[in-house]
């Protein structure tokens, strides 16, 4: 019991640290592509501390605050559902389906907070964000189904065990892995699927009214989301991790791919986003599904 509690505390903490590092990596990649130097190593941490410490903190009402708490808290809780090397948290008591729906809770929190801001730009942003969710989740659930069927379990711990015994999912179901990566691009909200932020057009959408600790919380949330996406993909396709080192290498690699792709692209309109996410990854996913189920 004690060990479990330690795990439950440790897992989000690790996630926070690694997530900030991923944030840093993201900005470094962007800088490299744009031939800039990029921020210093501790910049993400500085940012968070700065935002939380600001004098001017503007709240737009209770739900604004609650939404932010739900967004951050939901991710903190979600980290305990994905097994990492040496720690399983409550991954054994839940499964990948729970995790997917769990991950929607922070989004809902952010949507609440943005909605309460009473800024039309925020509402437009949320409408686009939810549209994006509808777009990327369809290929993603096809992937989830395929992998669960292949591994014969929805338990993430067992998935890792299976891959460590029989080889990575990436090699057994490459089409599904491709579809998953494509969906990941949307899930992280990176170009070309970042219409919901669209800073020049709707003034960063959901974030338009956020400042101070609100924006800081959103940065924390983003770092969590990067981490979660990375390790979830690693767990599903790359055999999880035996040790922290190979686990983190894989996770960073996974996150690096969308980042690298992102900065090569312009921004898609909402319907273009739907079109591309419902076409290629869904086709690949269904094909991969057929291969998995009939072989």
């Amino acid at each position: 019991m004690m060990a479990l509690i330690v795990e439950l505390v440790l897992m989000p903490a690790v996630a926070f640290v690694v997530g900030l590092a991923m944030l840093l990596m993201m900005r470094k990649i962007a800088a490299k592509i744009q031939r800039r130097v990029g921020p210093p190593f501790f910049q993400p941490l500085y940012d968070v501390v700065k935002f939380f410490g600001k004098q001017t903190q503007i709240s737009h009402g209770l739900i604004h605050d609650v939404g932010i708490i739900v967004a951050v808290g939901g991710y903190i809780a979600a980290e305990t559902l994905i097994p990492v090397p040496g720690m399983t948290g409550i991954a054994d008591r839940t499964d990948v389906i729970t995790l997917i729906y769990f991950l929607m809770v922070p989004s809902l929190g952010m949507a609440l907070a943005a909605g309460q801001c009473a800024n039309p730009n925020a509402s437009i942003g949320i409408s686009r964000a939810l549209t994006a969710m509808l777009a990327y989740d369809i290929p993603f659930v096809i992937v989830i189904f395929g992998m669960s069927w292949m591994y014969g379990t929805t338990n993430l711990v067992q998935m890792v065990e299976y891959q460590q015994a029989h080889g990575w999912g990436l090699f057994q179901a490459p089409l599904l892995a491709f579809a998953g990566l494509f969906a990941l691009q949307g899930m992280l909200g990176k170009q070309p699927f970042e219409i919901y932020v669209a800073p020049a057009e709707i003034a960063t959408g959901p974030m338009v009214e956020m400042g101070g600790k609100y924006l800081g919380s959103l940065i924390v949330m983003q770092s969590f989301s990067l981490y979660t996406a990375g390790i979830l993909y690693t767990t599903l396709f790359l055999g999880g991790g035996v040790t922290w080192i190979d686990f983190l290498v894989k996770a960073f690699l996974v996150v690096a791919i969308p980042m690298t792709i992102a900065f090569q692209f312009p921004r898609y309109r909402a319907e273009q986003m739907l079109g591309s996410l419902w076409k290629w990854p869904v086709l690949a996913g269904l094909l991969g599904l057929a291969v998995v189920m009939w072989s």
Partner: protein
């Protein structure tokens, strides 16, 4: 005098009292107490859900040599407890301020009270039926009772009620055909007699039975393509009535299907019945119909601009989950499908009530004419929030558990397309209900709603109670799943072994106690982090970033119309050719035929028909 007799008596008394005293708004609390008595009587039958012997009714009739008898079993009880709860909540909701308001607006409160009271009382008759004849009697009574409730408000509702009536009678006739077919096969209306001959029946006969029964009962459930009546009929019913109807009324179809298709024919029969030239079997066909019922109505809901219509369309879609779960038939799926009946009743009633509360205060359910009400009606907002989380099937509410069970079973059964359909339905629901919440409660408060206040306690209490149930059964789904094991045993389905928190299995289980616990712990930590930041200052809603322009009261802008513009740009064209064409063409064909029929009676010489038919008859005789 058994408990069932008592329940019938109590419900009849309630209807009588509603008819006598319903006109006066002050009778509301007393009527609510009577509904409470009904609920208690159902609760006293609780041991049924844990395997106690069925509770029979004392009256038994014999007509034309066929006996009718009634009894409550675990299946009946499960549906009855939902019915009683929904009726109690609806009656409570209208017992005070709402009822007075309705009467002041010129509504016929007595009629509404009576219609509401008739619904549960007829449902208790249906739920107790144990042969085809009593089933049909109960079925018709329930259909007519809900017709009365839909009619209660008059106005636009009448048109929808009439449309419902046509569908309902059509469905009832299909049921009657199935019942008479069964009689032709066995010479009796007993379920047992049919069950006994099922192994000897030809595939054609079985298909006829399956199609007639599922079609007939499917009308009430709003299964595709018989769903077109439901949204309008439920949405245009006065508030508490629509809460009751949305919660349980169409589930009677599921009950009757369970009773006949699963209880009598048996899941094994459905599984053995394959569709020629396809790999599908009868139960998969049902699951596919369910899948379409999930997806199409859900996305129709997404387009609605009226909160009540939006909810009603979602009600149709959620019915698909129930059928899908039950049709898949294994322990997890059927438990999920059945539990969804309970879950849906709880959150749907709460949602309709919350919307009704908004209408009560603002006078409109038009999603383009509201906004920002969270600061004025925070508790109603809370109820709606809890409700939509349940409806969307997100943790920690109960809707998540039932859907999880269904998803998990679909993975077990290897049904990827059904799985995707189910998830797509959920995603569509999330998208749609956020619009509902946002357009009513978030964004900018309209000038005319500045003075809106929270609704009074008589309306809040049932809503909050329902929300509490939504949360508690999400936290500890085992409470409900325990009942369902008995129901599964009764129907001859595989039996689930639930824990308090859900299901324990090594290859991916669910323990909601942990999930919810962790989630709230996360919120706690999140709150700590949040509070670690500097103290925030709350500003006026118009004090926000507007691109260098100052927003004033004259230019309030709440982004609500065509909320998902981008999405609609892509999927808008797909709405064409939803099943409306089917209904339209049936009506058109009937009208054409009717014109021809009327033409028969407009001829100059009616004797021409006489000569014609004589010649034809003689020709036929000679041939």
């Amino acid at each position: 005098m058994t408990l069932l007799d008592g329940l019938w008596l109590a419900s009849a008394l309630t209807a009588l009292a509603a008819g006598l005293f319903g006109r006066s708004p002050s009778a509301g609390p007393w009527l609510t107490a009577l509904y409470g008595v009904q609920f208690l009587l159902v609760a006293f039958m609780g041991p049924l859900a844990y395997g106690a012997d069925p509770v029979p009714a004392s009256p038994a009739f014999s007509v034309l040599g066929y006996g009718l008898s009634w009894q409550f079993t675990a299946l009946s009880w499960f549906f009855a407890v939902i019915t009683a709860g929904a009726a109690l909540a609806a009656a409570w909701f209208m017992s005070g301020a709402w009822g007075r308001h309705y009467a002041e607006q010129g509504g016929d409160l007595r009629l509404l009270q009576l219609a509401l009271a008739l619904n549960p009382s007829t449902m208790y008759v249906l739920l107790a039926s144990r042969d085809f004849l009593s089933l049909f009697v109960g079925w018709e009574l329930v259909s007519w009772a809900s017709f009365v409730l839909m009619l209660a408000a008059g106005g636009v509702g009448v048109r929808w009620a009439l449309r419902y009536l046509v569908y309902a009678i059509g469905g009832a006739m299909a049921v009657m055909a199935a019942m008479v077919l069964s009689h032709a096969l066995t010479g009796s209306f007993e379920f047992g007699a049919l069950a006994a001959v099922v192994p000897d029946l030809s595939a054609g006969t079985l298909w006829s039975l399956v199609i007639l029964l599922s079609g007939g009962f499917g009308v009430k459930m709003g299964l595709l393509p018989f769903h077109l009546w439901q949204a309008g009929a439920y949405a245009e019913t006065p508030g508490p009535g629509s809460a009751f109807l949305g919660a349980i009324s169409s589930r009677m179809g599921l009950y009757a299907m369970l009773l006949t298709l699963f209880g009598v024919l048996g899941l094994g029969t459905l599984k053995a019945l394959s569709i020629p030239w396809t790999p599908l079997e009868a139960h998969e066909l049902l699951a596919w119909i369910a899948a379409f019922t999930i997806v199409l109505p859900t996305f129709t809901a997404l387009k609605q601009n009226d909160a009540r219509w939006l909810l009603a369309w979602h009600g149709i879609g959620q019915g698909g989950y129930m059928l899908m779960g039950v049709a898949m038939g294994d322990a997890l799926a059927s438990a999920g499908g059945l539990m969804h009946v309970f879950n849906h009743a709880t959150y749907q009633a709460a949602l309709f009530m919350a919307v009704t509360a908004v209408v009560y205060r603002t006078g409109t359910a038009d999603l383009n004419k509201l906004g920002g009400l969270v600061t004025r009606m925070p508790l109603t907002f809370l109820v709606l929030l809890v409700g939509i989380i349940g409806l969307a099937g997100l943790p920690p509410m109960n809707g998540f558990v039932s859907k999880w069970l269904i998803y998990r079973a679909l993975i077990d059964d290897g049904q990827p397309l059904l799985f995707v359909a189910a998830v797509v339905g959920t995603l569509g629901t999330i998208v749609s209900v956020y619009k509902l919440l946002h357009n009513i409660f978030l964004g900018q408060l309209r000038v005319e709603h500045e003075s809106v206040r929270e609704v009074p306690g008589s309306m809040l209490a049932p809503m909050l109670a329902l929300s509490l149930i939504v949360f508690v059964t999400g936290l500890a789904p085992g409470l409900v799943l325990d009942w369902l094991t008995t129901v599964q045993r009764e129907l001859g389905l595989a039996v689930l072994a639930p824990t308090l928190g859900g299901v324990e299995r090594p290859d991916g289980g669910l323990d909601m106690l942990w999930v919810v616990g962790i989630l709230f712990a996360g919120f706690g930590v999140g709150a700590l982090i949040f509070l670690a930041g500097g103290r925030a200052r709350t500003v006026h809603q118009l004090d926000n970033y507007a691109g260098g322009h100052f927003l004033t009261a004259e230019v309030r802008y709440h982004y609500s119309d065509n909320f998902y513009a981008g999405l609609m740009h892509r999927i808008g064209p797909w709405y064409r050719g939803s099943f409306q064409w089917l209904q339209d063409s049936v009506v058109a064909a009937t009208d054409l035929l009717a014109q021809a029929a009327a033409g028969v009676y407009r001829v100059v010489q009616p004797a021409a028909w006489l000569l014609g038919v004589t010649v034809l008859a003689l020709w036929w005789v000679a041939a």
